[in-house]
């Protein structure tokens, strides 16, 4: 019973991801990452499985109007942003 519920939930999640992936690879990818604007069809096809897996994250970025990929965070970058030595 648990296994059946898990597999149904997984199937629904991935189906939602596939539905989201189509408009995302056509329009959304270039909105949240300008380097994807001229991406060839091969690139768009290659990212579809990842979009299906991580679609809630990408939907949030697209919906909130994010225009650039995030800047990574490590000790040096945090200290540089704060303007003080840690």
């Amino acid at each position: 019973m648990i296994a059946a519920a898990f597999l149904i939930a997984l199937g629904i999640y991935l189906a939602c991801g596939l539905v989201f992936a189509l408009p995302f690879v056509l329009v959304g990818a270039k909105r949240i990452d300008p380097h994807a604007a001229q991406g060839p069809w091969g690139f768009r096809l290659l990212i579809i499985p990842g979009v299906m897996a991580l679609w809630p994250l990408l939907l949030r970025r697209w919906a909130t109007g994010v225009k650039e990929p995030p800047e990574e965070c490590n000790a040096h970058r945090r200290a540089a942003r704060k303007g003080v030595a840690p």
Partner: protein, 387 residues
Amino acid sequence: MGVEYVSVQWNRQKKFYDAVLVGGVAAFLVIFSVLTKVLFPRVTDEIMLIRAFGTGAFLLLHIILCIGPLCRLNPQFLPLLYNRRHAGVTCFLLGLIHAALVVITYHAGSDTNPILSIFVSSPINGSVSSVPFQPFGFFALIILFLMAATSHDFWLANLSAPVWKSLHMLVYVAYALLVLHVTFGVIQGEGSPLYVGTVALGLVTVLGLHITAARREVALDSESRLTPHASRPTESQSLVTSSPTEDEFVDACAVADISENRARIVCLSGERVAIFKYEGKISAVSNVCQHQNGPLGEGKIVSGCITCPWHGYQYQPDTGASPPPFVEKIPTFNVRVKNGRVFVHPKPNPAGTRAKPATIDGSSRREEAHSVTGNSESLVTLAATKK
């Protein structure tokens, strides 16, 4: 990442890497199948293929997991790291074919959904022979899918390298699940201690290499850790370094400690800093490459740019910025050179900010020359003593 994404960033090295990878996998599958037919003539073709693809995926995962620590222990293994993502995708594809063959052979054709059958086909009764080993493989395959699906540079940029790396650390969970999957599968199938021993040997190899590499990294970090307070020069040194330390600059190393076009790595401000010497100058940058967080200080300066040893991403040593059209940037550090010593300010500059390189002064060059001469003299003395 600074230019438009392409499907696959092919170059001559990557094509060679992939040719060796595909050739190696094909050779393994053929040899494994032939040996299975010779040694176990009663094994059917379906089971032979299931075992060949499953064993191939498991063996390739071992190789992939060993590449990281091997590179930490010996830079000669770095070429294996260059295109490791393609090896990971190949591992997933082998595992996927293995799983598809299992579902077709054992789970299709009944009233139960074939995927659901993986979970419900083995009733648990408390004995080792009833442990349902196939769900372990199912969840491992899901993790390998997640990693293969996010292997493109688009995901590195949009998740950021630290998050991407954390996600890909799930490979260790997948490996643990696969060890359980294979161990219980072998016990319930052939039952030969030889197979269980082989799995244990692989596990010991992977764990041993990781522990050895981790111990070495911890030792290196503790040796090179600097703090503004603790690393102030001793009384004898302060006679010649009083000016820089008054401004909180930290005595990092001697100029002579750094080879030309190479770096000395120190731990400062919670992360490693790479101090490069080139063209009579010294510059310091964060040791963390923006691409996959590779160790820049273990690379060298090529054509005037710091070049990451992992994938060749480049940064100008004074600005920490990649040469156009690339847009990667790393934090820089203000540096000074005085009396043959390099001083680094612990506060990093924002990524891509130019920090004026310190010019190696005459006294530093003399000390460097003296150090080299001293070493030569020591070698001559040692040779004479040996004679």
